[in-house]
């Protein structure tokens, strides 16, 4: 594999910040693909929207930083 980038290798592959990062997951909520960070079992924060549909970025429910409630459905 060849990397063609302006960033030096040590910056890409060496993580100088060794502290544990909060768990992030890629999920689809109401058809919008996004990355969330789990806060606890029932709550998560939106980190980033991955959807290619520009309208999804205007949805007030899916702004980065917003909390989403997760609850089990039986």
């Amino acid at each position: 594999m060849i990397h063609y980038t302006i960033l030096p290798e040590e910056l890409i592959f060496f993580d100088s910040n060794h502290q544990k990062r909060p768990e992030q997951k890629e999920v689809v909520i109401d058809g919008v693909q996004m990355v969330i960070q789990l806060e606890n079992a029932s709550e998560a924060t939106i980190v980033r929207i991955l959807s290619p549909n520009p309208d999804h970025y205007l949805d007030p429910r899916f702004q980065p930083g917003n909390k989403v409630q997760l609850f089990p459905k039986i």
């Binding site: 594999m1 060849i2 990397h3 063609y4 980038t5 302006i6 960033l7 290798e9 890409i12 592959f13 060496f14 993580d15 100088s16 910040n17 990062r21 997951k25 890629e26 999920v27 689809v28 909520i29 109401d30 058809g31 693909q33 991955l50 290619p52 549909n53 520009p54 309208d55 999804h56 205007l58 949805d59 429910r61 989403v68 409630q69 997760l70 609850f71 089990p72 459905k73 039986i74």
Partner: protein, 242 residues
Amino acid sequence: MMNEEYAAEQPKPAEEELAKKATAVQAIQQLGAANVPQLESNIFCLNVIGQIEGHLVMPPQNKTTKYEHVIPQIVAAEQNPKVEGVVIILNTVGGDVEAGLAIAEMIATMSKPTVSIVLGGGHSIGVPIAVAADTSFIAETATMTIHPVRLTGLVIGVPQTFEYLEKMQDRVIRFVARHSNITEEKFRELMFRTGELARDIGTNVIGRDAVEYGLIDRVGGISDALGELNNKIKAKKGELLQ
């Protein structure tokens, strides 16, 4: 695993739903909000940010654009009749050669109108992605670094190594020359120019320079890019009507 649980929220065939109910107490999670009607846009926005991630998963300090996200998205955009045009927004430092060229080839071979815009930076493997679109734009302050491809890790000092590297480089050079107005010779010259970059050989082309070299079609911002895309969409519709 959680990804699958969420994905289960997507509409499914009725019998599958029934089968799922029959298997009973299967806890799945959902968002606690009312369903709003899905917003529809005729433009598909492909955001290429950070590192372009290919076969290796990058450590978490990297922001990445993942090959496995982008490729199926482009297939979906090509297939979906609601998508009429594609805008590619680039602000990338480069990344995996194979993944970058794959994305560039996908964009170049789409039948729908495509417009790319380089904001901030479109460096290294970002260059072929930028030129792959039908029309490419660059913001006045955006830069593109053109430098040689390098081998990292264990490099064996034999002529074959050099030949291999040269071949990999030619893939990038040929693609760029084929999809922009720059010649292979000129691009190669920019790539190996000395005295421009502080710690490397190559060239840093900024905004208007990229247009003068023929690498990018026009200098412009988001309104220029979307205006051009809408014109292309209209022109394509006109063609279909005739």
